[in-house]
């Protein structure tokens, strides 16, 4: 149970090396299938991620970004390696502990939005806030992503960007420790992409949430504190930005 490590949200960006990392990853590998059909999605990844950071994962399609993110979020378990969340090994978590880890600590944003089609925007958010310990009001979460006007619309009545913003509102409404976003702008045009990223950035800044964003658009890297580039399941490059560029300034 990670609840004991429930740190108070800080508006100050912590510097690397001082605090205990949120995620401590060593030699993380994930191999799908067996024998001849085996696919190595992750081939030994080492990294430490800290509270308040905004991380961008870059890499070609199939390089293992989603696999890594899913590992961080406790959606899948590693084949080899260690993955510690605030000092606790996720591999030791049983189904119940994993469930509460996901419920209390992690906010997910999926590329395919994954909204419940039969629930309105507000209800999609409320669905999650109902099961969290200290959520914000669904209306507030939707306001944060600029969707106050469309709260009672069903997913089918919303554009892709709006649906993605609902998904972000759903993810942040629980005030997560970690916000994991898998190509949140993948299906969106530039302008819409920017509103979505601004929403993520705001959460990261205001709530001190560790945010990990997957993208294959290298330009987005400027908004991050650190940028990891993956290739064939390994981290091949780490870049540190001294200054984060505001999202609106990105030359997309």
């Amino acid at each position: 149970m990670p609840s004991d490590s429930h740190g108070s949200p800080s508006s100050v960006r912590s510097t690397r090396g001082k605090d205990e990392p949120v995620f401590h990853v060593r030699g993380l590998a994930r191999i799908y299938g067996e024998d001849t059909a085996a696919v190595t999605a992750l081939a030994g990844v080492d990294l430490d991620l800290f509270a308040g950071e905004l991380i961008v994962l870059l890499g070609a399609s199939g390089s293992g970004k989603s696999t890594l993110l899913n590992q961080l979020g406790g959606l899948d378990s590693p084949t080899h390696g260690t993955l510690l969340y605030r000092g606790e090994n996720l591999a030791d978590f049983d189904e119940k502990a994993l469930t509460s880890f996901r419920r209390d600590a992690v906010g997910f944003v999926f590329q395919a939005y994954n909204l419940i089609p039969s629930l309105t925007a507000r209800e999609n958010v409320a669905l999650i806030t109902e099961i969290c310990p200290a959520p914000m009001a669904p209306e507030d979460a939707l306001a944060l992503v600029g969707l106050s006007e469309r709260m009672d619309h069903f997913p089918a009545q919303l554009s892709g960007g709006e649906q993605q913003r609902v998904a972000i509102a759903r993810a942040i409404a629980k005030r997560p420790q970690v916000l994991l976003c898998d190509e949140p702008t993948g299906a969106l045009d530039v302008r819409t992409g920017i509103t979505v990223l601004e929403a993520i950035e705001r959460i990261n800044r205001d709530l001190g949430t560790l945010a990990v964003i997957i993208t294959h658009n290298a330009i987005l890297a400027d908004m991050a504190d650190r940028v990891f580039t993956l290739s064939d399941g390994r981290i091949v490059n780490i870049r540190e930005n001294q200054l984060r560029a505001p999202v609106s300034s990105l030359a997309w």
């Binding site: 989603s66 999926f110 395919a112 629930l119």
Partner: protein, 788 residues
């Protein structure tokens, strides 16, 4: 309402037609179960409380005549609680408005007070006063209803050779005559046979029986041995012409009610279980599909921190909603139909009051059984869904592996259109699912066979019994067995074309502990009127010795051809004899045994004697014939074949017929439900694929053909299998409802099969049309958008 519940509610609304189809099928099974089980409970409860309140006796005996003082001897038998002695005499009646003579069984009412046993319930009017007035009698309700006799009506009866007028004072019911049928007859004939009551003194005096009795009813102390009491009674009554005492098992009215309960029991289990099984299968396929469609939603819920239990519960609630709908519908349907059937039973079971009693326990059991069935159906799908790691579930399902269908490899595929080939491959790709759908379709066909086989069985029995077995117009019985030459008198009666004699002797057959009392019928060696038919069905030539009995009777006695049966003659000089069984007769109503008439007379050590004659009457001279019958005092009874046939049609046939109609309705609903559901599910499974085909330029018709083709192939495979399964069902259920009162032969007609095929085919066609229309509604863009 929690948000997951709100999602549930909206998902249900989107799936409503399928949910309704499943709920309807479940409702049919439940309604049938609740209806039949409640009827059983109603009949049994009503009967038991009626017996109790009106003190229905437990042991009965008839005798020639014994002085009333013998009553004390009977009462002294250890184990006997109460004794009621009375007179019961069969007389000929002349009822206004009835051309033929009728037969009445007149029972005496005690001189003082109420009968100790077999008390009467006065439905209308009052009991005859006795002391003050003469010429009064009370009439049993069935006969009264058949002739619209109300208190104050009049009729005449021939008492000991003199015709006397009587006034009806009341209409009554007796626990002894819940079912009023002539002795030995399996079928009622309320027009020509009735039960009456009149004061002891008047009846006894008319027959010179005053101070004596010829009928005994007895109840036992708790724990007393019925067998021992019967033996004691027989010993005491033997010198008085005792005809052998018997218990309730052999009591004709009691037995008839029992048999009806047995028929209902046969129907109450097998059929509903099939329906409920089908409903469970449908719930499973609907839920599996729903869960497959919501794979990504489930993954998201898990990613967001919903536990397996919460998610599992969500889908269980989904099926629970269907079950609750089905149970509610089924309960209401079962109760309504139960009320309707109870009303029908009023027509031929005479209880003071027969109320519908809902069998709550069955309702509960049935509801939990179907809930359990639905849940087990869903459990697998839910388990698979929640076990999937969310990361996995988030990815679209792996594309299915297709291969050329088996039939294609036979090399005949060049005659198949691409659409049809796709349909074949779809079937082969998921053999289990296709197999289950096929099984469901086969069951839909099968359950359609059963009700119609009942109908055809009844028609066959009616034709068989009254065209092949009994070819006489009328059966005339003599007051007392008379010399054989009386047959000449019958042949000379006005209008009579031909007459053949018969000899009826009441006997008791014994095989080990099993006994049956019935009439042994003596018939001419190879008569043309009342014939004995074997299983093939050919007429028996009655051999000079030996007995031929109903196949059912033989199986009850656990005997067969070649064995010998012990018989006790219950008339005249009482004797024990052993007769070889020389053949088994095919008959469907009641149980009977036959002998060649001379052989029978030899066995009885009597000269050539007849009890009456079967006669064929010229319809043109029908009134003259009936007038002649009424003028012949020697003729006690006159049974008109056509009115027996009518009686059968109105009672047994009607009760089975109503059940048959209800079952038919249910079976049709179920067949439609299954097929519609299958079509919807394969539409949903193929929606994306079909939309893609449309985008690629296939016409709506070609795309529809893939879907319809699959359904057609499955239906074609299912139909013959269904006909076979249905025939087996029919056989099983007919065997289950096979009683000594009525048996239905397994008759499977081409019409029956054709009807089942027609219903299934049209259900398929309607479902296909519906699916094709849904197909047109598929929004191509959104169907593709879901692709990534």
């Amino acid at each position: 309402m929690s948000l997951l519940d709100r999602k549930l509610f909206r998902d249900l609304k989107a799936l409503k037609s399928q949910a309704i189809a499943v709920a309807l099928v479940m409702a049919c099974g439940l309604a049938m179960m609740i209806m039949t089980r409640s009827l059983i409970l109603s009949l049994a409860t009503t009967r038991d409380s009626y017996y109790e309140r009106f003190r229905f006796a437990e042991v009965f005996a008839r005798l020639k005549r014994a002085p009333n003082s013998v009553r004390e001897e009977l009462a002294a038998i250890p184990g006997v609680a109460r004794v009621q002695i009375s007179i019961a005499i069969q007389v000929t009646l002349d009822v206004p408005g009835l051309m033929e003579p009728a037969v009445g069984l007149i029972n005496s009412l005690p001189e003082r007070g109420e009968p100790v046993l077999n008390r009467l319930h006065v439905r209308a009017g009052r009991l005859p006063a006795g002391r003050t007035a003469v010429g009064e009698l009370a009439v049993g309700e069935a006969f009264a209803a058949a002739h619209q006799l109300k208190p104050g009506a009049t009729l005449s009866a021939v008492l000991n050779g003199t015709k006397q007028p009587f006034r009806v004072t009341g209409v009554v019911l007796s626990p002894e005559f819940v079912f009023e049928a002539p002795p030995g007859a399996a079928l009622p004939d309320n027009k020509t046979y009735g039960v009456f009551w009149m004061p002891y003194k008047e009846l006894a005096t008319a027959f010179q029986l005053y101070g004596a009795f010829n009928s005994v009813a007895i109840t036992l102390d708790p724990g007393a041995s019925e067998g021992a009491v019967i033996a004691a009674i027989n010993r005491i009554l033997a010198p008085y012409g005792g005809r052998g005492a018997y218990g309730r098992v052999d009591h004709p009215s009691h037995r008839r009610v029992d048999d009806e309960i047995r028929v209902l029991q046969g129907l109450s289990v097998a059929f509903p279980l099939v329906f409920l099984g089908v409903a469970a299968f449908m719930t499973n396929s609907v839920m599996s599909r729903q869960i497959a469609l919501q794979r990504e939603q489930i993954a998201m819920l898990k990613a967001c921190g919903f536990g397996n239990r919460q998610i599992g519960l969500h889908y269980f609630k989904f099926s629970l909603a269907i079950v609750v709908g089905g149970v509610a519908l089924g309960a209401v349907g079962g109760v309504i139909l139960g009320y309707r059937l109870v009303e029908m039973y009023h027509l031929f079971f005479r209880f003071p009051q027969l109320d519908f009693i809902l069998d709550g326990r069955v309702l509960l059991t049935a509801a939990s059984v179907s809930a359990l069935a639905a849940f087990t159906g869903v459990a697998g799908a839910v388990h698979r869904a929640v076990r999937l790691p969310p990361a996995e579930a988030m990815r679209p399902e792996a594309p299915a592996r297709y291969q050329p269908a088996l039939v294609e490899r036979l090399g005949i595929s060049r005659w198949f259109s691409p659409s049809f080939r796709m349909a074949l491959r779809n079937i082969q790709r998921r053999p289990v699912r296709s197999g289950l759908t096929c099984l469901a379709l086969a069951l839909a066909t099968a359950i359609l066979i059963v009700p119609n086989s009942f109908r055809d069985g009844i028609t066959y029995v009616i034709d068989f019994q009254w065209d092949i077995v009994q070819r006489q117009t009328v059966t005339l019985s003599l007051v007392e067995p008379g010399p054989a030459r009386a047959i000449a008198d019958f042949r000379h009666m006005p209008g009579v074309v031909w007459a053949e004699p018969f000899r009826f002797v009441p006997i008791e057959l014994k095989a080990g502990p099993i006994t049956r009392r019935l009439l042994l019928q003596g018939l001419p060696e190879r008569g043309t009127l009342s014939r004995v038919i074997d299983a093939y069905p050919q007429q028996f030539t009655l051999p000079p010795r030996g007995i031929i009995m109903s196949a059912k009777l033989a199986s009850v006695l656990q005997l067969s051809t070649g064995d010998s049966v012990n018989a006790r003659v219950l008339e005249g000089r009482e004797r024990e004899i052993t007769i070889p069984i020389v053949g088994l007769a095919e008959d469907f109503a009641g149980i009977a045994c036959y002998m060649e008439i001379h052989a029978l007379n030899r066995l009885l050590l009597e000269g050539d004697c007849i009890s009456g004659a079967h006669v064929v009457v010229d319809k043109a001279r029908w009134p003259q014939f009936l007038a002649g019958v009424k003028e012949t005092p020697r003729i006690a009874g006159c049974i008109i074949k056509d009115s027996l046939r009518e009686g059968f049609r109105k009672t047994t046939a009607e009760s089975i017929g109503l059940l048959q109609k209800i079952y038919m309705l249910f079976a049709t609903i179920v067949a439609f439900g299954i097929i519609y559901n299958s079509a919807r599910i394969s539409l949903s499974e193929r929606a994306r694929e079909l939309a893609t085909l449309r985008v690629l330029g296939f016409s709506r018709g070609e795309v529809g053909a893939v879907l319809v083709g699959e359904l057609v192939v499955l239906t074609l495979v299912a139909l013959p299998a269904g006909l076979i399964i249905g025939s087996a069902f029919a056989k099983g259920i007919l065997t289950a409802v096979n009683t000594e009162t009525v048996r239905l032969p397994l008759v499977l007609t081409a019409e029956n099969y054709a009807f089942a095929v027609l219903v299934v085919a049209s259900a398929s066609a309607v479902s296909a049309v519906f699916a094709a229309r849904k197909l047109a509604d598929i929004d191509l863009v959104s169907a593709l958008k879901a692709l990534d």
